[in-house]
């Protein structure tokens, strides 16, 4: 009896000692398929690192953004790893809110990260966030409807071709809209699409002196084309449609074309959820012959806040989650099609991945076609393709998004929306000290 008690006591003591020694790190993330999958596969990490425990906090995107911003700005220290995007990384790194990732390990192979992605996550040549998955935007279209319209989608279409195809594919009697595009107001919703689109029309948010450019003819052409196209060939109530609404429409066969995130390819080609899975083709985002395409660049990335007390454990985790080994782990458990896309060049050189993901080449070409440092035709003072990487952009982008969404809904004219956008941007830039 005594021996049993002693053994139990020793075991409890050692368990307690282990628990006390184990370091737990808290990871803030969004709820999307790739992130959820990672949470399921973390046993691979904890087996190799038994002294590190992982706590997950999954939040809705806007809440996550607000919470991590509050935490990092007040040095709350609630999180050891944060999931942030290409918009936050350059701003936060310049504020010294993030730790540079210089201890990712010898076998990490940081040079394998797609240059366009690593460029968006680096400041002064230092990587401040490791990409978990990257995306651009491209055209997803119905091959059967394109054939019916007697057209052939080029690999690199122009906006004029998109308009022509949309007009021919629209069949409202049968519930088919020629094109589905984002209309819901928000800097990450309609303004992601419209800013990227405006680049291909030669527009820019600001000139080299931070003077807003909504009063220039390039923006007028962009917004007028968008509103006219959507009125003629877009779905009803398009000003309320974001990514998820358009995804549902496309999956139900109600869109001839959809220009949106490359990550959508895996959803629309999934026969379990998409009624048009075997009829989808892909093409680069459209252009106007000005040397820039209307595609964006985004990467959900893992970063370590400067306030963490557990930087080493956090960096070990970031290294694991964004490594080639993780890609192979996902492939072995759930197939190559489910590997997080858009981060490593080696994935796109992998024959098995190319076979499993027919959209692989177009995704890589789209990512490579985006340049965050030279997003549009004319020079700009900012970084970012579908956003402007300054702290004021979240508020300003959403305000302008609301004005453009109202123009799409017919509540105001294109000219009025642009004038109000110009006034709002001028006020924000003056208040922010950009315009002296």
């Amino acid at each position: 009896m005594k021996l049993r008690t002693l053994t139990l006591g020793l075991l409890s003591a050692s368990a307690f000692a282990f628990a006390a020694h184990a370091e737990s790190i808290t990871i803030a993330t969004v709820n999307n398929g790739d992130m959820v999958r990672m949470q399921k596969l973390t046993e691979d990490f904890t087996k190799a690192n038994p002294d590190i425990q992982l706590n997950w906090v999954t939040l809705e995107e806007n809440v996550l953004r607000e919470r991590v911003t509050t935490d990092i700005a007040t040095k709350g220290g609630q999180y050891d790893v944060m999931t942030i995007g290409t918009y936050e990384v350059p701003i936060w790194a310049k504020q010294s809110w993030l730790l540079p990732l210089d201890k990712l390990g010898d076998d990490y192979d940081a040079k394998d990260i797609i240059p366009a992605i690593s460029g968006g996550l680096s400041v002064d040549g230092k990587l401040y966030a490791a990409p978990f998955y990257g995306e651009s935007s491209f055209v997803m279209y119905r091959k059967d409807l394109m054939d019916k319209a007697g057209l052939k989608m080029p690999d690199a279409p122009t906006w004029d071709f998109i308009k022509q195809a949309a007009d021919k594919m629209t069949d409202r009697a049968n519930g088919v809209n020629g094109v589905c595009l984002r209309g819901k107001a928000g800097w990450g919703e309609n303004m992601a699409f419209l800013t990227a689109m405006s680049n291909s029309f030669g527009a820019r948010w600001f000139d080299e002196n931070w003077k807003p450019q909504f009063d220039q003819p390039e923006w007028k052409k962009t917004l007028q084309f968008y509103v006219d196209l959507m009125k003629a060939d877009g779905p009803e109530g398009a000003s309320s449609n974001g990514f998820n609404e358009n995804l549902a429409l496309f999956q139900q066969g109600k869109c001839g074309m959809w220009i949106d995130a490359t990550v959508a390819a895996s959803f629309v080609s999934d026969p379990k959820n998409s009624t048009v899975a075997d009829k989808v083709g892909y093409a680069l985002a459209p252009d106007n012959g000005l040397g820039k395409r209307g595609n964006w660049l985004w990467a959900w990335s893992l970063a370590i806040p400067a306030g963490t007390q557990k930087a080493d454990a956090a960096e070990k985790f970031v290294s694991w989650a964004t490594s080639k080994h993780y890609a192979e782990l996902v492939a072995s458990k759930e197939g190559w099609a489910n590997v997080p896309p858009g981060t490593r060049s080696s994935l796109y050189a992998n024959a098995e991945y190319q076979k499993a993901a027919p959209f692989a080449k177009m995704t890589l070409d789209s990512i490579n076609a985006a340049d965050p440092t030279h997003p549009t035709v004319k020079p700009v003072p900012y970084v970012g393709v579908q956003f402007v990487a300054i702290p004021e952009f979240q508020g300003l982008g959403t305000t302008v998004g609301q004005l453009f969404s109202a123009a799409l809904a017919g509540q105001s004219s294109v000219d009025d929306a642009l004038k109000q956008a110009q006034d709002a941007a001028t006020a924000a830039m003056t208040e922010g000290g950009y315009i002296k």
């Binding site: 999307n32 997950w56 007040t74 549902a248 999956q251 990550v263």
Partner: protein, 274 residues
């Protein structure tokens, strides 16, 4: 004749009440229906007949442990309610039985704090919590929820206490009861129905509070509001899963509300008609 008019009025009133009740309850009902649909069905527009799949519930349970969040919700709502009663009973007693010229003003001021947008004080509160080491702690959140709901609790108790004749308390005092004894042994037993309905309402308010419970917690103290929030997705279909998570989160409080509806209604209308 008069009788038939009364009956007709009653019927109309009953039908109108049912229609209004159904309208109010419909979003909850549709959430429950959606939780039994597949993601594809959920996004396909209005449909009251689900396929009856439990897929979303299975996924929700597999993705994040419901019971940890549930336990936190119970602890936070009950804990904050007890704290609120401990503060509010003496406060309401003094306002009801020893009012001053400014009592009404104080009551109005307390209620006016409920009208302030919570986000306006997010940063100061966050910094206070950080400096006191209360971020992601149940104690900190209980105090926060208590403070949020305190004006309503004080108001409700004040209304009940005013219905109790002051002479009874005076008699207790003349029999030598101390202030403590007067509140604990005389006032509280007489106000039990009122205190119970205040308690129930406060539990419901604390259970449903989503602004602070999401923003001041991460893992250890996160309640069901954080659980629901984690199922909204920026890219992908999530309506059925979100509905399943919401149904699981509201079910306990809905059941509690159903069984205690008589007390709740009585509590909310107490003192309304004299």
């Amino acid at each position: 004749m008069a009788r038939s008019v009364t009956t007709q009025h009653k019927t109309i009133a009953t039908v109108a009440a049912w229609i209004i009740a159904l309208l109010i309850f419909f979003p909850i009902l549709y959430t429950i229906i959606t939780s039994f649909k597949s993601e594809q069905e959920a996004i396909q527009g209005f449909n009251l007949i689900p396929s009856g799949t439990f897929e979303s519930y299975t996924e929700v349970q597999a993705q994040s442990g419901y019971f940890k969040f549930f336990l936190n919700s119970v602890l936070l709502s009950v804990g904050s309610t007890i704290l609120a009663l401990l503060v509010a009973i003496p406060a309401a007693w003094s306002m009801a039985f020893s009012p001053t010229k400014r009592t009404k003003d104080i009551l109005m001021w307390m209620l006016s704090t409920k009208m302030m947008p919570a986000v306006a004080v997010l940063f100061p509160i966050y910094l206070i919590f950080r400096n006191l080491g209360l971020l992601d702690s149940r104690i900190g959140l209980m105090v926060m929820l208590m403070l949020i709901n305190l004006p309503i609790v004080v108001w409700m108790l004040y209304t009940y206490f005013r219905e109790i004749p002051g002479e009874i308390l005076e008699a207790a005092r003349m029999d030598g009861a101390s202030l403590w004894n007067e509140i604990v042994y005389v006032l509280t037993p007489m106000a039990v129905p009122g205190i119970a309905s205040t308690m129930l309402l406060n539990i419901i308010l604390a259970w449903n509070e989503a602004f602070w419970t999401i923003r001041l917690t991460t893992t250890d103290a996160a309640p069901l509001t954080a659980f629901i929030s984690s199922f909204s997705s920026p890219q992908g279909l999530f309506w059925a899963k979100l509905s399943a998570a919401s149904t699981l989160a509201i079910a306990p409080i809905l059941i509690m509300g159903w069984f205690s509806q008589k007390q709740l209604v009585r509590g909310l209308t107490f003192g309304a008609v004299k």
